[in-house]
Amino acid sequence: MEPRAESPRGRSARREPRDAEMSRALARAASAVRRLIAEKNDKKAVEEAKRAHKIYATAESEALLTEAYLARAKGLAGRGLVAEGRLVLDLLDERHPASRERVADLRIAFAGRAGDVDSLLRPLCDPDLPAARRTAIEQAIARQLTDPSRIADSTVLPAGHPLREAARALVRAFELATSRPVTDDEIALAEISRRSPLSAWKLLVRAIALFHRGDDGGCRRSLAAIDPDAAPARLAPILDALMSGEGTEKLRGAAARLAARIRGADDLLREPFALLDRALSERKQKEIFQRIQDAVRACGESAPALLDPLRQRISIRCLLLGLDANRVASACGGPSLKDAHFWRLFARAAEIKGDPAMAAGLWEEFRRNAIAQGWFRAGGIEEAAVYLYMAEIVRRYSPDELPDVRRSYEMRIGNGFANYYRGQPEEVREAAPKASSPGDRLYFLDPDRLYAKACAIDPDAEDFRAWLEWTKEGGGDAAALDRVAEKWRDSAPSDPRPILALMESAEKRKALQKALGHLERAEAIDGLNPEVRRARLRLEIATLVRHLQQRKSHLADKDFARLDALPQAKDGDRPSAIAAFRWVCAKIRGDQAGLRASEEEIATGLRSPAAAALVVRAAARACSLPAPLLPPLPAPPAAAGDGRNLADLARACTLGRDLNLKIEIPRPWRETLIAETATAAGAIAARPLRWLAESAVDQGEDQLAFALSNLGLALGESEAGWSLLVRAQSLPETLSERRCRCAATAAEIGRTQGDRDLVEQAIELVREEVSGPFSIFPSGAPLPPELTSLTPDKMRKTIAEERKASAYPKAGEGRPSWLGEDEQEEEPRHEDESPFDAVYDFLESSGVFDEESGEDEDDDDDDDEFIPGMPRGLPPEITKAMFQAMLRQVSQGRIPESFEDLVHRDPTLRATMEKFLAEQIGRLKPPARKKPPKKRKDR
């Protein structure tokens, strides 16, 4: 039997199941190819697709093969093998023409990536180019174009083509914006619309222009508007780093070179400058000079504007190292510019080297040059500040040292710094010092003249005060002080302070009427001023004391009446002090009822018999009441566990300080009081404790003062300043280093607390110690840094150490071996009641030494100067002996504070006076005695 021929239906019925099967197989193959494409295994994907197409040879398999080839081409281009990718596209084009459309799109992308601008542009000449293709080309241009001149110069596009014209305008604008400042019109680029493939470039040009203008905000806005996919967006991070100054160190290659070109020199100079710094710190001379040359050369090439500051800095650094200036100048390729910058550096260097005189001279050079260069104007406040600064520097010398300092400066510097100006530019030479008299030339070494210049420009109260302090420090006479105060008054007529200064000056020389006149003027300006009110009380008391000294009780009554009317006389314990003066007045008059009333008032007010007695004694002594007339010293009290005796004494000392009365600390009380300090913590408030401690120092009660400073240190940080000063003052002189340390710490604390008095006293003590016989520092040097630059840690350490060291140093502790055994400790300055004192007081009160004066006259003040406490009308031999004694004391580094102090310290003067007094007493005629009646003889 022959096989029957199949019917068409049968054949299709058999094909249908086969087609479905093939579809499913092709679908599986497609899935596998696409998976390989996704895995970027495009080579295998092509092989699989080829196999499938060979098997199935359908349109679907061809499409799959095209897809695989396109993926392969993209893969190759993605790996940088653009040429290979293009070959794949060519093959695809040739073998599978149906894929031409898809290939064309990819060709555009490849052309852009390869920089084949011509291939990219060519299709644009076709007027029938589909819109989609045109868009793809333009997108490729936008994303891939890294040089618009490729379009501007391309011959593929005809001249006049809008894109080519736009590119030409763009190239011109880009060149301008990267080469010089441009106006907005120059970079307007109207030819480029927002949709143009060159629009991102237009924004880049604008961003660069704004960057160079310094308009960072505008630059950033333009950058933000650039399509992130566009080629110009790749420069945004570089611009951002250049604007912020951060991240430029991370740039590499062409970006780093661009940044270096734009930022200029700094990056190129860091290394040579760092090497020079290292050479200077290691002090290797040979290397220093080599590195100087390198740095100067690099600077000259990269940043010529920095050359002058560099040379100046080098010359001063080398000066501080002591290197030869000519060699340095030679290494720098020439001398540094001697302008204000230079002189300022030089002056600061002189300060660091501890040469205040040289520093002052250099600040003078700076002043002239700064004015010439326009840093500030002549006669301006800044110039005043320079004068003040110079005065502060020169005040590091004591007034006594200054004449020698000037002589030494003249010898050292001679014609000033004129040599430095040789070879300098004309504008610098104009500021060179002009010829002047030696007095004018060295004015900067005279604080008085510096203050005068500063205050003439800027009459500031603090500056006048500093000037006054200097005048006092310099031992200025009353006339000198008054001149300064008068200048201050003239510049500030509504300020009571200069008038108070004039008042104090008059008061000091006992010209009380004059002082009262000044006070009235001060009260007219500001009667409520606390200083003015205190001054009124003080002067009234001083007038009262004078009248009582002169035994003019009727005038004293008027003084009491005025005091009774003074509101400030009723504050605190003041009424008790005034009652003490009433006691003195009653004593002079012999008014027993008055005495009793006063005693009762004082006892009621002070509630302490001991304090009352001390206040009365102080008032009586102030009024020169002879010793026999003084109330007796209270007996030494029993030590009180609650510090009562200390508290009473402190209260008396506070009152004494308030009213300028010297409260005597009875010597017999010393041991009791010292013992009481051990248990008196917290018994006395800070202020009274301070005044008590200072009184102890003043009276030479060093051990008591030391013990009181323990109490002060226990009160806390706020009282540490004065406590340490008292500690310093009370320590034996042989413990110079410890005294220095305490005083320096006290000064620093005083500065932070604004306690001017504390600072002045402490610095004075430091100076004395530094130049004293037991000093550990070289003589004549400025205060060493370890005493002027105390850190908080050092201060805390000193406070802690002194708190611990609460026992008074043993005798001989710290005594240097070179101090001979025959040196005696000086006796404490203490007002002993010796027969000499009694005789002397008696003679004084009897008027032996006084000049005649009228009964009702209120003695006018005389403006004669005298040593505090010095009696008037001393005979010549006593005066001569007194001056000789002064010379002896001063040569031993001691300056007696008063006439009494001098007498106590100098045994020779004491002996001379005793002899003189004995002679005087011998000359006193005995009173005429009536002859006793003759006894009648009994007959």
Partner: protein, 98 residues
């Protein structure tokens, strides 16, 4: 403001700066470092301005503003980086490399 921070340096001014330049520099710096964003720097800027607007304090800062012992490298500190014109080449070179 510490001892070593000189008001002129904080505001980026030369010693010759005039009153109007000081004020402009202050406003510029405050804008760049507002208190809510950078309170510490704002305080330093304000302190520097207070020091310089008073002629006496300004003069004081001027006198103490020089440190002769400062490293040579410190000449580069605080300098506003230059913005030199590099021409089109370096820009295009950087773009092509990226």
């Amino acid at each position: 403001m510490s001892e070593r921070e000189h008001p002129f340096e904080i505001l980026g001014l030369s010693p010759e700066a005039r009153d109007d330049e000081i004020r402009e520099a202050y406003l510029r710096k405050v804008k760049a470092h507002p208190p809510e964003r950078d309170p510490e720097m704002f305080e330093r800027i304000r302190d520097a301005y207070e020091a310089l607007r008073d002629p006496r304090r300004r003069a004081r800062s001027l006198l103490r503003g020089a440190d002769p012992e400062a490293p040579i490298s410190s000449l580069l500190d605080g300098r506003a980086p230059e913005r030199r014109f590099a021409g089109p080449g370096p820009w295009l070179g950087a773009l092509a490399e990226r």
